[in-house]
Symmetry: C2
Subunit: 395 residues, 2 copies
């Protein structure tokens, strides 16, 4: 069988295309050499213990390091019993949805939200109920009425899924007062918050806000963290921080009871990389590089797109959220953009439920060098102005 | 945080104990050096592509090699579209159960069976219905009446879970005529067979029988294969072979659509190890070593246990299934055995549903060197004859 004709990657860039549609780390910013050394050290240090069945909650070295690291980049350190290692946030969300939902449950989801998280939740027989958001993030004030209505209808409201820090797709972080009121409301209402927190380390202007998990009592929040955005998504390694009751339930699921830790070897590689100091210096490299890419994307937008759209500077993460001036439509513009050699994610994909008509779009600045970002925005500007656009001179 | 006080492994052997209760590969038989070299070569060859988001069905090099390898160790090669890479058989079973079951479905499970597969299935709101087995494996003749009864009761019979080759715990392989009739029956009844096939490569006397997957039409069988028993469970890498309709549905689940291939980096390490020829030579080493361990366990049983139990020689896999002569009870004997420094899995754990009272027990010969196996069986014989046993002289 000739493997060269089979795909290797999730995303293969067509020649000439600059696709800002994918929230992937820059390939040039994946620490391949450092991870090669970490893998070798892992196998020297642990021998077959690195390759046997691992502890269900994840190997001690990574659990301990996660506890320590969150003491630096969050308001509060977990204890080891609060932590379960996952195969990344997608897998962690799937685990939580499998364990915690029953058919017919209502699951609250901020809208817009990460579209593939919606796909994961939709793999379960639950009803997704959108919660609106604005420029300060999730509209926490709207929650009581939504939950009251659902409960009047006899629905069980089990979970709330949110990305409060450097949101995908909008880049917004939930305002401080809303964090506190969201946690208070969810605790009082008996709703578990699933806090998707992949971008915490990528804070370009000041420290990331405290996680909802760090603000809440035990049992109120399960936070999903990952090494996909800071290290390498192909390692499929992340973590949940919650509370000992929930982590014990996760470890008692058949998959972890049978197969042991879901990312045993790669977890030890991450822990070895971190223990050497490479993680901290690599995150410093990322902060410089991604802040530069963010700056270049924003200045290119100012140069080339100008008044035909509005956007805000995200304080962290991978994304700029662009709102096209009416009557432009992001989905309708996409074929022209692709023909011009630039890709993006139309904003309608992030609505709950998704719908195509939307003036917004998501640009990921993570994957490309600054000069490519400028070129991409020039192409995008041309597509916005292309046939059928409002600014096109008409005959 | 001091990581040394946190667990690393699924199973930590207490000092002095020889625990035949765990179906783990021998730590001395995990190819640590070869995998270290394969990891280094993987990162040299693919660079950041080995660490980015991977193709949802798994990376081409491993998919292609699985297709080729099954042409050698099974009756039929899959095509790439038949294959999805998993994070091991536990994860593969969880994926299939999540995707294919609805609340209230009946799932047929051979009894006895792998107890942790039952745990995985029980994480879903289905009813497990036992199907009896005998010395030739699953009693296929009993299936029509069981299915007819369930359907009369209005139940949907969705799946049948079985381990037809070198069965865990019994070591039995399903007889050839039963393989054919099982596949025919399931196809006619519209029941998907989940064939758990972890031990195919570990055939000590002659080639493993053809898989059910290889005998069936497309859509009738999903077979779970893994590198946990032949290479290293900590890599969490295995595969499903089924048909393009099912593999497409698996790849469209949110977890794979979002995170990409679930074991991307470790899959490439396995493929690299295999491409070098190391896999084939390693399996040859395993066959010699495990056949020797099997022989030693069996001869030790003949020397020390004799007429107080019966057993059959397994033709492959990790396990010998011991039936104690009545009225001995395997669960009641276990505390004495552990006190004597030997562990095993009492057979009742493998019943569907599990129940403690049983004269059988499972011994794994995979994890220990021959001299330890002899010592373990001596301890076991002492425990069988200990206080309260039928053979103990009474005063």
């Amino acid at each position: 069988m000739d493997a060269t004709r089979l795909p290797l990657r999730q995303f293969d860039q067509p020649p000439g295309m600059i696709d800002l549609g994918w929230g992937h780390p820059g390939p040039d910013l994946i620490p391949t050499d450092g991870l090669r050394r970490a893998a070798a050290r892992t196998l020297h240090r642990y021998g077959p213990d690195a390759l046997g069945y691992g502890y269900a909650a994840g190997p001690g070295p990574l659990v301990a390091w996660v506890c320590d690291r969150l003491g630096v980049v969050d308001r509060r350190s977990p204890v080891p019993d609060d932590v379960v290692i996952t195969a990344g946030n997608s897998h962690g969300l799937e685990q939580l949805a499998s364990l915690l939902t029953a058919p017919g449950d209502a699951v609250l989801v901020e809208s817009p939200t990460y579209h593939l998280a919606v796909r994961i939740l939709q793999d379960h027989p639950v009803e997704l109920v959108p919660v609106p958001s604005d420029t300060e993030g999730l509209c926490v004030d709207s929650l009581p009425a939504i939950v009251e209505r659902l409960r009047r209808e006899g629905r069980i409201v089990r979970l709330l899924y949110t990305q409060p820090t450097f949101h995908n797709p909008t880049g917004i972080s939930l305002a401080a007062d809303r964090r506190r009121s969201l946690v208070d409301f969810a605790q009082a209402a008996g709703i578990l918050i699933i806090e998707d927190d992949p971008y915490r380390e990528l804070a370009y202007d000041s420290a990331a806000p405290p996680s909802l998990w760090s603000l809440a009592s035990a049992g109120a929040v399960a936070r999903l963290g990952t090494f996909s955005k800071t290290l390498a998504p192909g390692l499929r390694t992340g973590f949940i921080t919650s509370d000992p009751t929930l982590t014990r339930r996760l470890c008692a699921t058949g998959v972890l009871a049978s197969g042991g830790g879901i990312s045993h070897f790669t977890s030890l590689v991450v822990a070895e990389f971190a223990a050497s100091g490479d993680y901290v210096s690599h995150v410093a490299t990322l902060l410089t590089a991604y802040a530069q890419r963010r700056a270049e994307l924003l200045s290119a937008l100012a140069r080339h797109v100008e008044s035909r759209a509005t956007w805000a500077q995200p304080a962290g993460g991978y994304f700029v959220w662009l709102s096209l001036a009416p009557p432009r439509d992001a989905a309708a513009t996409l074929p022209r953009a692709r023909a011009a050699g630039v890709g993006y994610m139309p904003g309608g994909a992030f609505n709950v439920p998704p719908h195509g008509v939307n003036g917004s779009l998501r640009l990921a600045f993570s994957r490309y060098a600054p000069q490519q970002l400028d070129e991409a925005v020039q192409r995008l500007a041309g597509a916005i102005d292309g046939p059928g656009s409002a600014d096109r001179p008409r005959g």
